[in-house]
């Protein structure tokens, strides 16, 4: 048994247990890892979404740090206001600000506010937990939903093969603001995630970190296999883990290319691509995205 004091030393439970996340939720694990890396001297601003709902039902709260939720799309602006207030009252040297939300609030409804916050140079770390659809409202397509994935608003049908567009590249949008640090991480690689969050918080100014977080409910995957799927996304090249610090790119290498079928075939959201001869084109297109990433980010040591 680890003593309470020992546990606290590592900040393991700043997002406390007892909340109502689904079994195998990648987002809750990632959020706990983020706070573990960030420590107690943070204020967290949370978008509306799964993470907010499962952690803050009045009169209970799973948050051991100052935490605020306002709305779906204004998290970055609320964080900017918090940062401004901390700055003018001389607290910014000891308090860090984290704004966080899902991919819907990041890639879609909150993108304008994120852009404003990044452009104005606020000292805020923005974290996107990317589970690739609006899971809290029942698995609807977001701008971050991957190519050909089934969601409740991008269903496959007689004339549809699922989501008709590749996912929006928000890390590159963040980079275009010329901010000092952008990173892509995965809940399947917790040590890499931990290092990136610590790195981001050591830098003053706006930072963007996007974390891939499988959602058993939305993806149709077994709860105990969340980490497997997170890793397969990286090992196929579909979710390249990289960071750009002051313009310099570093990517996490993968040992050898795993075919995308290994990642896709056991997820219900891609099931419609399998078992039918004429769907090979779609799988080849997804493989093309992975191959492009491997090339672009130099994921395999030649």
């Amino acid at each position: 048994m680890v003593k309470v004091e020992e546990r606290d030393k590592f900040n393991d439970h700043l997002l406390a247990s007892g909340h109502t996340a689904c079994p195998g939720c990648g987002q809750s694990l990632a959020a706990r890892l983020v706070l573990r890396a960030a420590g107690r001297n943070v204020m967290v601003v949370n978008s509306t979404g799964c993470l907010e709902v499962f952690s803050s039902k009045y009169p209970e709260s799973a948050w051991e740090v100052p935490w605020i939720h306002s709305l779906f799309e204004n998290t970055s602006a609320v964080a900017a206001g918090i940062e401004a207030a901390l700055k003018i009252t001389g607290q910014l040297d000891r308090v860090r600000v984290i704004a966080q939300g899902g991919d819907g609030s990041t890639a879609d409804i909150g993108l304008g506010a994120i852009s404003g916050m990044l452009e104005r140079g606020h000292d805020v770390l923005y974290i996107c937990y990317d589970n690739e659809a609006y899971m809290n409202t029942g698995i609807q397509r977001s701008g971050s939903t991957p190519y050909y994935a089934r969601t409740t608003t991008s269903p496959p049908g007689k004339v549809s093969r699922g989501n008709w567009r590749p996912k929006k590249d928000v890390p590159q949008i963040a980079l275009a603001h010329g901010i000092p640090y952008v990173a892509v991480a995965s809940v399947g690689y917790p040590m890499d995630l931990d290092r990136k969050v610590r790195k981001a918080l050591s830098i003053r100014g706006p930072k963007y970190v996007q974390i891939h977080v499988p959602c058993p409910l939305g993806w149709g995957t077994a709860p105990e296999r969340t980490i497997d799927f997170a890793r397969l996304a990286v090992l196929t090249g579909l979710y390249p883990l990289y960071e750009v610090e002051n313009g310099e790119l570093r990517a996490l290498k993968i040992p050898k290319k795993v075919p995308v079928e290994e990642y896709l075939k056991e997820q219900v959201r891609f099931r419609h691509l399998f078992g039918k001869e004429d769907r090979k084109k779609e799988i080849a297109e997804i493989q093309g995205i992975a191959d492009q990433n491997i090339e672009k980010f130099g994921l395999i040591v030649k």
Partner: protein, 395 residues
Amino acid sequence: MVKGRMLQGARAMAEMCALCRPKVISAYPITPQTLIVEELSQIVADGDLEAEFINVEGEHSAASVVLGAAAVGVRVFTCSSSQGLLLMSEVIFNIAGMRLPVVMICVNRSVSAPLNIWNDQQDSIIMRDSGWIQLYAENNQETCDLLLQAHKIAEDHRVMLPAMVCCDGYVLPHAYEIVDLPSQAEVDAFLPSYDPIYKLDIDNPTTMGAFADPEKYMETRYMIQETMKKSLSVIEEVARDFGSSFGRSSYGLFEKYRVDDASTVVVALGSMAGTIKDVVDELRDQGEKVGILRLICYRPFPKEALYEALSAAENIVIMEKDISLGGSGAVATDMRAVFYGREACPRISGFILGLGGRDITVDDIKTTISKAQHQVADADFVGLKEDLELEGING
């Protein structure tokens, strides 16, 4: 000798805002509010106010920035108008629900379409259900006076609700008037620094903005409703304090002008009361018992005080610059509710004037008063032009 300086309204409001020492200001330009934002940014740029001035990418974010800053426990300010206020509206409701004492100026302007940048009060009237205290000013002096009082009311621990000071676009912020602004020492003595009940603090972590299921939500609305009712006396108390501190009367919930023996009383909000007072004087000279009750505090709606003030009147004539399309004017609807089922039962008529900057003339007001003395009107439009387009409607 008249005390004060000849100032453009926007400049006076910006200086009054700075005297209240907000720590974080965030706003987005929208005509006719823009002048206030420009003046404020200059005051901050000159180092005359130690504050963070955040230029945002839209009004939704302007309101969100001040929400976040208020949650840290500092005094904040924003201002907007029309489309900007409507874009903010989601955050406007959120700020009230979170019980953050944000103060803003709404420079009243019509709502599109058609695009029209001129004055009416539709924008802030739409926000009447949001949980914000709403105070309407007649002139620039009162806008400044109410801004100072709004901070004190909102931050009062018996209240802890946001407050919106409304002033008529162009008519006030663009006009030059003599305004008597208090000194910094006088303001500091009247308005102590903000003392939040709850705030974000790493030494005392709290969760703000938790979600409430059906077992909890309704009580939050009840608490705001009850607080709204109780804040009526705080508004009056602050107005009295203001009067004794600055030697200038502040009317509290409403101003009565020649009302006490009047058989016909006009009820109006904002700058049009100036013209109506002139008409009242003229009609009084002709022996007509007419007065005007200028409503300052529209939310909370001072039901009992209005009943007391108006129960002796035979005719109540509401003139308002807003319309709940398909229904009636908002103020007229509220006013009728004050008297329904009560002993006093005056004839209550509602008129819609001055939408989209249409001039409200002395003749308009006289005609309206005369009409209301003979029949009950509901949402009667006053001052319509005989446009070709109307032929089909009236045909």
